[in-house]
Amino acid sequence: MAITDHSLDTALAGLDALELTGNGTARGRRIAAAVLPKVAATVLFFALWQALVASKWKPEFVVPSPFTVIKWMGQHPSDLLHASWVTLSRGLLGFLVAVVIGGVIGILNASVPVVRSAVGSMITGLQTMPSIAWYPLAIVFFGLGEHAILFVVVVGAAPSVANGIISGVDQVPPLLKRAGRSMGAKGFSQLRSVVLPASLPVVFSGLKQGWAFAWRSLLAGEIIVVALNNRGLGTLLQQNKDFLDYVGLYGVMVTLFLVGVLVDSLGFGLADRAIRRRWGLVEGR
């Protein structure tokens, strides 16, 4: 005799309960596990730096002690914050334009085979081109100013964004596409409901790489295109070198590094983790 409907109910519920075991770790412990190694690495770095100073390998005005540099940073907080903000907002603007342009190019390449075979390999070619090589042309086109920088930032970041979308779409499991089609999704609805969300984790690493390229191109630009009204970190860096303010030079370098780490771990890192967790690509909940 087959089991009755009610006992089927309880049997399934029992099975579900058996198969689901909690595996969440405490939030505090997770944060500690993420932060402590970074703190340890930073401490180690400063210790090595101090050791280098103590070894008297170079005179103190060339390699100042980390304490001197941190003190200098404490004395110029508004300059550094303002310059960081100027550079960050320039970077963000360029990055957003790159995401739009790279996004359109990426989607076109991923969904139209003719476009793919025509320009697909060129995108990777563009990606490997050092962005600093674009500056002479950019300056000829746009003159020494914001527009030249924006141009190079976009050219530097867009190929990574496009390539991220192309490889993301390539990696969508055929089964999911089949499932989408069998439910009646086609063309745009298939792209929007199935293909793009399925490729998001890979697309996101393309965005992350795009940001890295944008940031590099931007700093190169701020150093080369000095005639800017708004002084960003690159301009500050170049000026401190020119004015022989080497402690200031180090101070800006440390700031640059800090801004980079913050954007990467707080901006991209958290989003990346959230995406990977939602897509079931990491263990735990």
């Binding site: 089927l8 049997a11 099975l15 198969e19 689901l20 439910m183």
Partner: protein
């Protein structure tokens, strides 16, 4: 809701294949997946397709689902189809509820509240209401298949096509899902075309079992299963019919060993 009568006379076909041939590739790499298939799937009945590897079972379902076109012959389907796979093929970035909602949306339901309510009803039907807000990777394989079943039902299919849906599950879970599928099929008066390589499963579920030959796939036998429902996969009656079909399949496989 009318009680399903397994032995009612055959009225019409929900799916009808006539002289269907499907060929993949060309030249040296040409593969004939299906050749001259004639197949009638009676409306409202549970029909199982069994065959050894390479009999083109999945290809056949793709043709019926309209995902592929036959190289020759004709495929006729009355009403809408939904296709369920061996792996759940749920969208991992959506909760179980949103997965079901998406199918309802793609079916053409534009009212968001309606979609939500219907998705919850379907999840209740497969006893997953408590897990509506879980992601697919947070639940077990059996639960994923139940969610996939709910998603298929969300397409309001007249014909439910199932491609070894329980092949990757353990025996206990599979038994329970057989019960569940059977009761849903009875309640919804759907036509089911169920593909499996598991002969006992076919006999446990099917009103009729169709045996396919391998490479190329052809219909070699149709066996009507006259075992009273409810059935158990362990019962002697099921095992008896299964043995006959297994012998027939073995014959098919041996035929390939000869050359």
């Amino acid at each position: 809701m009318g009680v399903h009568e397994p032995l009612q006379p055959l009225v019409e076909s929900a799916v009808s294949l006539q002289q269907v041939t499907k060929v993949f590739g060309a030249g040296q790499s040409l593969v004939v997946a299906l050749e001259g298939i004639d197949l009638e799937v009676p409306t409202g009945r549970f029909t199982c397709l069994v065959g050894a590897s390479g009999c083109g079972k999945s290809t056949l379902l793709s043709l019926v689902a309209g995902l592929e076109k036959p190289s020759a012959g004709s495929v006729a389907v009355v009403g809408r189809t939904a296709l369920m796979f061996q792996e759940a093929a749920l969208f991992g970035w959506l909760t179980l509820q949103k997965n079901v909602e998406l199918a309802i949306k793609l079916r053409g339901e534009s009212n968001r509240q309606e979609r939500k309510a219907e998705a919850m009803e379907l999840l209740e039907l497969v006893r997953l209401a408590d897990f509506a807000h879980h992601q697919p990777h947070e639940v077990s394989g059996g639960m994923r298949q139940r969610a996939a079943l709910a998603r298929s039902l969300a397409q309001k299919p007249d014909v439910l096509l199932m491609d070894e849906p329980f092949g990757a599950l353990d025996a206990i879970t599979r038994d329970l899902l057989h019960e569940e599928l059977e009761s849903i099929w009875r309640a919804q008066a759907m036509t089911v075309l169920f593909v499996t390589h598991n002969v006992r499963e076919a006999v446990r579920l099917g009103d009729e079992v169709i045996v396919l030959s391998s490479r190329p796939g052809r219909v070699v036998e149709r066996i009507s299963v006259d075992v009273e429902r409810p059935r158990r996969i362990e019962s002697a009656a099921v095992a008896g019919v299964a043995a006959t079909i297994a012998d027939r399949l073995r014959e098919e496989v041996r035929r390939h060993g000869d050359h």
